[in-house]
């Protein structure tokens, strides 16, 4: 007795979205759950919101397979799915190296394939200022690598935001201050602190000058623009790696420190700056994310601040940092073990995959404050020649860790699926690098 192959021809997938609204932007609170039912009676995708429908469509596309003869098949399936963490992000750095618009859009595509939902755009930094500001066009003209070619115009930014929205991806832009701001200097004279060599200015500049009113007028105007251009509720304000030596050297700042009673504690000065900046940004109705130094240096921040944990071992291990941050009732994002720019030989995706974001000592309430994490691709050694193979499929390991259940940890199981996913990426034209020896039916062909 042979079991007869029972295949039905499927000619439609019916999608039912419960909540109306197609034209909004995704947010941290967006529901992304969906169910997928494929059987004899129906092919049905149900979701609360359009965002869930997008996630379900991606899953559906991953269920379709082809026989050796070329026929498309899908197995009877029942899927109930929702993400473990609501903030699943990827950071790109467009300051150390400019990334053409096509690279950013391509990254958003693959983020959608992996169910990432936040594009953390580290837009500017020390080396270059590619963001085309309309209130301060000199910033771009003097700060970009090349103001004709290495910039993001208002149109480019609009395009990125809409391209992301159509994929259920939020754009979280970062304008990192007061450190990491060298490129702001040429276009905004007086913004950065002049460093001193003894009693004379040395000619070099340090972080943003926190003692001048003009600084805050500038930031006020600048962040008014940023708040209007970037529609997500959150802005990333940076706040990492502020080098105090330039501030220390400056006599005006020394005076200010005395007047304010800060003594010799420049963390208090940093605090003073950040607090003022946060007030400015809150007044525009925005929330914010900051790097962990802001928390470590005891800056007084609002309770709804999100702290991004990026330092692996100092001042404490990142797990300990998560414990401290959540113990202080702040929400946290994990990035420390997910610096994908740190390449090594071999299948390093495994280490990335095995990270358990909630493996710290804390109450369930604390653990609930970890809202997700971000894989970071810093740009010192990365541009469009090597971005895609360096990002994919390694970032896929982070994607699963942030979406799937805590119990999904079997490396063999993940290895097989990630290898298949990689071949699927190749089929979709994505230059994802191999995980290990082997082959895909359709290899990548250079143009």
């Amino acid at each position: 007795m042979r079991k007869k192959q029972h295949t039905l021809e499927i000619n439609s997938l019916v999608i039912h979205v419960a909540t109306p609204g197609c034209d909004q932007l995704p947010s941290l609170e967006s529901a992304e759950n969906y169910t997928l039912t494929i059987n004899d009676e129906q092919n049905f995708l149900f979701s609360e919101t359009v965002w869930g429908a997008l996630r379900g469509l991606e899953t559906f596309s991953q269920l379709v397979w082809r026989s050796p003869e070329g026929t498309f098949f899908i197995n009877k399936t029942e899927i109930e799915d929702f993400p473990r963490f609501p903030h699943r992000g990827l950071l790109l750095d467009t300051s150390r190296h400019y990334l053409p618009l096509s690279s950013i859009l391509n990254t958003l595509d693959v983020m959608a394939y992996s169910k990432f939902n936040v594009f953390h755009w580290h837009m500017v930094d020390d080396p270059s200022f590619p963001y085309e500001s309309f209130t301060f066009p000199e910033l771009t003209r003097k700060g970009s690598y090349n103001p004709a070619t290495h910039i993001y115009t208002a149109q480019d930014v609009k395009e990125v935001i809409e391209y992301a929205r159509l994929r259920g991806i939020r754009v979280l832009v970062e304008f990192d201050t007061p450190g990491h701001t060298q490129s702001w200097g040429p276009g905004a004279p007086g913004l950065l602190t002049p460093c001193y060599s003894g009693s004379q200015p040395s000619g070099t500049f340090g972080p943003v000058n926190p003692i001048l009113n003009s600084t805050y007028e500038f930031m006020s105007t600048f962040f008014l623009e940023v708040s209007s251009v970037f529609p997500d509720f959150y802005l990333h304000l940076g706040g990492d790696e502020v080098d105090f030596s330039c501030w220390k050297s400056n006599p005006d700042i020394q005076d200010f420190m005395k007047k304010k009673g800060f003594g010799n504690d420049f963390k208090k000065l940093e605090s003073f700056y950040i607090q003022t900046l946060l007030d400015i940004v809150s007044a525009y109705g925005k929330g914010y994310v900051v790097w962990q130094e802001v928390f470590d240096n005891k800056v007084k921040v609002r309770p709804d601040t999100i702290i991004q944990v990026w330092r692996e071992e100092a001042p404490v291990s990142y797990m300990k940092e998560l414990e401290l941050v959540t113990n202080a009732s702040f929400r946290a994002l994990l990035s420390a073990p997910w610096y994908l720019n740190h390449i090594t030989y071999g299948p390093d995706w495994e280490k990335v995959y095995m990270v358990e974001p909630l493996a710290f000592d804390g109450t369930p309430e604390q653990k609930a404050l970890v809202i997700g994490g971000e894989a970071c691709m810093w740009g010192e050694y990365v541009d469009s020649t090597n971005l895609v193979p360096r990002l994919w499929p390694r970032a896929g390991a982070v994607a699963e860790r942030l979406w799937s259940s805590k119990l999904v940890t079997n490396l063999d199981f993940a290895s097989k699926r990630l290898a298949d996913f990689r071949c699927e990426l190749l089929r979709r034209g994505i230059q994802a690098q191999p995980l290990n020896v082997g082959y895909c039916e359709q290899e990548f062909e250079e143009t």
Partner: protein, 534 residues
């Protein structure tokens, strides 16, 4: 290794004459020259080139002419590299101040070797005199012309008005080492022919002259053999993951046109799992006690059928690959399977090898060497073949790859009189975070204990890009510009060691590679002028 032909005193004199026009203070006085030629004399006098008027041609006294394909192709290629991405339109007649460089005349002095394949003794030397209105590129053979054309193309830049500019200069150049190779591995991952050709392009930009094609291994056998078609039918990843005879021909000719030798490696007796799929009884059946386990080990060294197969196989290889040398592998032979096999145990007893399986390995390799000599080819082997006391004929080249104390290995091998290829410090598949090109650049291939005669036995080296984690998606950015560091170390003088100056030149060279369609990754933070086109 002593340079052939160019004396040190002359070199020092030339260096003293250096006076250079630099566009920015942070640029190298040698602009974007890579690898740095033996001697460079640049004057501040500028010449401009007009894409419409400038052309490369054969000098009347040259032994080569328009029938020389290798040069005709090169002229066209380099014209494109120099002017190609520039969109010009016919503008007004000459009104510019600077004098024009109208022509580059190429003169081959000795018998050109136009239709020959390059070999380890090929003369790659050239001299380049850039003076208006006609520059002269002189070389003994076409190989030198190819090297000189690359250098010439590296001298040209566009000023801020877009004018193609070159400094009057005098360059004399030849390589320090004659064997400068790149190893690609098409067994762990199949590499499409296009990727191999692109690699050859990039190699030419960096003056590499050997493609070491590690074509088959345990995981797959993509080489389509005419004599034994089942090898690839059963051993390749799939029927589309193969190199047909035509593919191989294309690669060899593409390489030849760039002065690059193609040395295939058919690694045995280990690393040969994939051979067993299409060739029954070639591999040793492993045993679990008295029964076959179902798995297979290295090539079976005790059967006559093994050697008749190898003889026929390598006969084919010697006709398909024109280079004098074939790489026979010989690395990492695991003995457990041989040990487990009762027939092999008997054989060991008969031969009086006892339990020393190195002797069996030696027995195999010796018979393989005999086959290779019969077909009049030379052999290159990995260092284990030397380490395990195989009787090597003089002339067999030993490739040193094991990192631990490789300098000592170089001493040992050259002390026995064998030529050495250095690869140990240049395993480019071992990626790490940061500017690792510097450590490749800082290697000194002759930094080992030995007489000067011994040192002459180091004929060069190879940067290896093993394929476990590499395929067409990431090969180019992983190879370049890191391999460029190796390229300069093998071409330029021993005292060219400043990594600061190298950084300045290599960043320019890297952007040029990107411009020419090779997706070389960045060295550090920064940008290229034409990044949009990446």
């Amino acid at each position: 290794m002593e340079q052939r032909g160019w004396g040190l005193p002359r070199l020092l004199g030339l260096l003293a004459l250096l006076a250079v026009q630099v566009p920015r203070s942070s640029a190298s006085s040698y602009m974007g020259l890579w690898p740095l030629p033996l001697s460079v004399e640049m004057s501040p006098r500028l010449l401009r080139l007009s894409p419409e008027n400038f052309h490369i041609g054969h000098d009347s006294s040259s032994t080569a002419g328009p029938s020389c394909t290798i040069l005709q192709e090169a002229f066209r290629r380099y014209y494109d590299y120099i002017f190609g991405f520039y969109k010009w339109h016919r503008g007004p007649a000459k009104s510019h101040a600077a004098p024009e460089l109208e022509q580059l005349l190429v003169s081959v002095v000795l018998d050109s070797q136009c239709n020959a394949f390059p070999n380890v003794s090929s003369d790659e030397s050239y001299s380049l005199l850039v003076k208006g209105p006609v520059a002269i590129l002189k070389a003994n053979r076409v190989w030198g012309v190819l090297r000189g054309l690359e250098t010439f193309s590296q001298l040209i830049y566009q000023d801020s008005y877009g004018t193609f500019t070159i400094n009057e200069s005098n360059i004399v150049d030849s390589p320090r080492f004659p064997h400068r190779g790149i190893l690609i591995d098409t067994a762990r991952h199949y590499l499409p022919v296009k990727t191999i050709l692109k690699t050859l392009d990039a190699m030419a930009f960096n003056k590499f002259n050997v493609l070491h094609w590690h074509i088959v291994d345990d995981q797959s056998f993509p080489y389509q053999s005419i004599t034994f078609p089942q090898l690839s039918n059963k051993g390749s990843y799939s029927l589309s993951h193969v190199y047909t005879p035509n593919d191989v021909r294309i690669v060899i000719e593409y390489a030849r046109l760039r002065g690059i030798r193609v040395i295939p490696e058919f690694d045995t007796p280990g690393h040969a799992q994939s051979w067993g799929k299409g060739q029954k009884d070639l591999l040793t059946p492993c045993y679990h006690g008295h029964t076959q386990s179902g798995t297979f080990g290295p090539i079976n060294p005790i059967l006559n059928t093994t050697y008749s197969f190898l003889s026929k196989f390598f006969n084919e290889i010697s006709t398909v690959f024109p280079d004098h040398f074939i790489h026979l592998g010989g690395d990492e032979v695991e003995f457990q399977c041989w040990e487990s096999n009762p027939d092999i145990q008997k054989f060991m007893q008969q031969k009086g090898f006892g339990t020393d399986f190195k002797k069996l390995e030696v027995f195999y390799i010796q018979k393989l060497f005999n086959i290779i000599s019969t077909i009049n080819k030379g052999s290159i082997v990995w260092q284990e073949v030397f380490d395990n006391n195989v009787k090597l004929q003089p002339g067999v080249v030993v490739q040193v790859w094991k990192y631990g104390d490789y300098a000592k290995e170089q001493s040992r091998v050259t002390a026995e009189g064998f030529p050495v290829l250095l690869s140990a410090p240049w395993y480019l598949d071992y990626i790490s975070y940061g500017q690792d090109w510097v450590k490749y650049y800082n290697v000194e291939p002759l930094d080992f204990d030995g007489t000067s005669k011994q040192k002459t036995l180091v004929i060069g080296g190879e940067a290896c890009l093993w394929g476990e984690y590499v395929d067409a998606t990431n090969l180019t950015p992983r190879l370049w510009p890191r391999a460029s560091a190796v390229g300069e170390r093998l071409w330029s003088r021993q005292d060219v060691r400043s990594s600061q100056d190298a950084y300045k030149r290599l960043t320019v060279h890297r952007c040029r590679m990107v411009r020419r369609g090779v997706a070389a990754e960045p060295l550090f933070t920064g940008y290229c002028n034409h990044e949009d086109r990446v």
